[in-house]
């Protein structure tokens, strides 16, 4: 894992002191709320419905046990004993007091963390594949580049007052687990003919009210040019992005407006001026950062694990958890375990301080003290010997953290919704709870198989409902919450935006509607066909017919 050196330490310390002074000037009235707002946002501090909300960055989704314990400590000392993991590898605290936020930031600085640029119209926390470094299909570790981008983008003098927020995601593998096409810039690693790794650069993705998948503007960018190319894209956007209308200010609208070819040409023209300059990354510097992400001291283990096979045979609940929550590791004898933060009937993405401490302990007991955060709002233990999986599962189960639903229908991504957020039109959490309760039966959920269902409480689409197989969007109709369903969204390397199936359902009907959709799928599917394949084969017709049949009380 990356470690701060004296320069990184000094920087976050200075940043905390700066924010402490800004808070004092706000409290004294020297700064107006209008002037303070962009400053606090660039430190992750929002003003929500009931209180301030602090969003802390977990750069590229990697945490040490020590860092996770600190997050637990902050939840316990400054909040109400829990934190909420988000789709962009952040953690949110919903009840901090303004005067204590500088203290929280100082505590974060002690463990090499910060809340810099987790909000505001600037380059946000750069996200990456949560399986970086351990996935079997990886070309190169994306965290190396995400860390390089983190440093370059931190308080960038030119790009701190952009037209709108700007999100970058990096993946080093062909299977996209970072929704790169859903970002303002998505970077996907490939190798060229000589085997040299480089990035496919995709620009102009985003969800919100205008969901658009990013378009490729360069099929291969050698990695040493990464920062100069990003700077060229940002410079074009900073000058030409719309600032008159917040809904048209993202780079996707600019790219759509001028056309992807013309936009690519503008970027290339700018890049020709600045490439081969001070931003180019010497190989020695890249190697130095890469060394921080060197593999842990794995043992030589056999790929076969009779102890695991025996435990799977002996315990059906464990077997189900292994089936959905355990993924192949690049190293023989090891596995990757997803810790679901989606208990049936629970709040998606929430973890208590005690659970965070428990996961930190388990990461040290069975792994190398490392924890990952996924955009699905789950935790991941990346390096578990297969022989230890059962013991890990037993321990997780005692903490309510062994729900066997990773990738299943109840692995719901949900935003905080109207329960917390002042942008929301409708509640998300109670809907997620109600739907997941319908699939609490293990056998039934297993029979349904892999299916993504995401719920956003407003058109800002924080919960990625556009790219869910079943997307649910909360809307307000004359003061009543309604829920619109989209079908057919995909978030992986074949990313696609779902289509609205028909009129919205009210709060009492929405869980039934989801069950209807699942029933149609189960009736129509061919052997082992996942939901999305069935949908793509049969189209929306059969679903629409059943959902809006006259006998369905709507």
């Amino acid at each position: 894992m990356y470690r701060y050196d004296e320069f990184d330490h000094a920087f976050v310390t200075e940043r905390v002191a700066q924010f402490r002074a800004q808070v004092a000037r706000r409290v004294s009235g020297e700064l107006s709320e209008d002037e303070f707002k962009p400053l606090r946002l660039m430190n992750g501090l929002y003003l929500q419905l009931h209180a301030y909300m602090l969003r802390v960055a977990i750069p590229y989704g990697t945490l040490s046990a020590l860092q996770l314990r600190k997050l637990a400590h902050i939840a316990r000392s400054y909040d109400r004993g829990y934190g909420h993991f988000t789709t962009r590898q952040n953690i949110q605290y919903n009840w901090p007091k303004l005067g204590e936020v500088p203290d929280i930031l100082a505590e974060l600085g002690e463990v090499e963390m910060h809340a810099i640029q987790t909000s505001g119209n600037c380059i946000r926390n750069t996200t990456a594949d949560p399986l970086a470094g351990v996935a079997a299909d990886e070309i190169d570790d994306p965290r190396v580049y995400a860390e390089i981008i983190r440093q370059w983008s931190t308080l960038h003098p030119e790009f701190s007052f952009l037209p709108r927020k700007f999100k970058i995601a990096v993946t080093g593998a062909p299977n996209d687990r970072a929704v790169t096409r859903g970002h303002d810039i998505g970077l996907r690693m490939h190798r060229d003919d000589t085997g040299t790794p480089g990035f496919e650069v995709m620009v102009g993705g985003g969800q919100g009210r205008t969901p658009i998948m990013a378009k490729t503007i360069r099929s291969f960018l050698p990695v040493d040019h990464l920062l100069s190319y990003l700077e060229a894209i940002l410079r074009v956007y900073n000058q030409l992005g719309r600032r008159d209308n917040i809904y048209k200010a993202r780079i996707k609208i600019l790219v759509q407006g001028v056309g992807v070819e013309a936009f690519a040409e503008m970027v290339e023209a700018e890049w020709r001026h600045i490439r081969d300059g001070a931003l180019d990354l010497p190989a020695a510097e890249r190697d130095r950062i890469a060394a921080y992400f060197a593999p842990p001291p794995y043992e030589d283990l056999s790929a076969d694990c009779p102890a695991l096979d025996g435990a799977i045979d002996a315990d059906a609940r464990f077997a189900a958890w292994v089936e959905s929550n355990v993924h192949p590791h690049k190293r023989a004898g090891y596995a990757i375990a997803t810790i679901s933060l989606k208990p049936h009937g629970g709040i998606p993405g929430d973890a208590s301080a005690a659970q965070m401490d428990a996961v930190a302990d388990l990461s040290e007991e069975y792994g190398f003290g490392e924890i990952r955060i996924s955009y699905k709002q789950n935790l991941i233990l990346p390096d578990i010997p297969k022989a230890d999986l059962h013991a890990l599962w037993l321990a997780l189960d005692s903490w309510g953290l062994a729900t066997a639903n990773a990738g299943r229908i109840s692995d719901i991504i949900a935003c905080p919704g109207l329960d917390y957020c002042n942008l929301a039109n409708a509640r998300s959490i109670p809907i997620a709870q109600r739907i997941s309760e319908r699939f609490a039966d293990l056998a039934r959920e297993r029979a349904v198989g892999d299916l993504s269902l995401n719920i956003s409480g407003c058109i800002n689409a924080c919960a990625h409902h556009h790219v869910a197989n079943i997307g649910i969007l909360g809307v307000d109709k004359k003061g009543t919450e309604f829920y619109q369903i989209t079908l057919g969204g995909v978030a992986d390397e074949n990313a696609a935006v779902g289509a609205i199936i028909g009129p919205a359902f009210d709060e009492m009907q929405i869980a039934d509607a989801v069950e209807t959709i699942v029933d149609v799928y189960l009736q129509q599917r061919e052997t082992d066909e996942p939901f999305i394949d069935t949908y793509q084969r049969i189209g929306p017709g059969p679903f629409k017919e059943k959902l809006y049949a006259p006998d369905q009380a709507r």
């Binding site: 050196d5 920087f11 931190t154 001070a278 593999p295």
Partner: protein
């Protein structure tokens, strides 16, 4: 309005105006800053006056469009219509780095304390601010950070450059791989 130049509160000797009777009236004002529309409309007449000239560019007026005339100006003023409108940061860097503009680069409009270091690092060297009190508090902002990550126009060594020096001198600790290096 109070003016900060090269880190000090100074007297502003420039006359920045959109409002004058005719081009000849500009001659009486001394060093004068005109906007782009005036410059385009009266370029030859203004040049004939022979005075010291400045040009004010609004957000969105890229320096490229006056590239050929930049050498005629001793000062370029870039407007921050709102402090949240960051276009002038790119304009400033382009003026300095692309067009080699060596004259005074002045920030006008909503110029606030907490944006000052960004402006300095993008090549601004003078700042027109609302009040004298603000001018004094603004100067404190410059000392908030010792080093920065990105190469910019403040001429300071970046953190990556300082790091490489430390590595070359053998003073930097070698990175320890994986999470095991988190054992304090």
């Amino acid at each position: 309005m109070p003016l900060i130049k090269h880190g000090k509160l100074v007297e502003d000797t420039w006359h920045d105006t959109d409002d004058f009777a005719d081009v000849q009236a500009l001659a009486a004002l001394g060093p004068v800053i005109v906007n782009l529309a005036v410059w385009r409309q009266h370029r030859d007449a203004i040049l004939a006056l022979g005075g010291t000239l400045g040009l004010r560019l609004a957000p969105g007026q890229t320096p490229d469009i006056v590239a050929a005339d930049l050498h005629r100006f001793s000062l370029i003023a870039l407007e921050f219509a709102r402090f949240t409108d960051g276009r002038a940061y790119s304009q400033a860097r382009l003026l300095r780095q692309r067009h080699g503009f060596k004259g005074e680069l002045r920030a006008v409009g909503e110029v606030l304390r907490d944006q000052l270091t960004f402006m300095l690092r993008c090549g601004f060297d003078s700042f027109s601010v609302d009040t004298k009190r603000q001018a004094e508090s603004i100067l404190d902002a410059v000392a908030e950070f010792a080093h920065w990550y990105q190469p910019a126009l403040d001429g300071a060594a970046t953190i990556p450059a300082l790091r490489r020096r430390a590595v070359d001198r053998g003073e930097a600790a070698a990175p320890a791989g994986c999470a095991a290096n988190w054992a304090y």
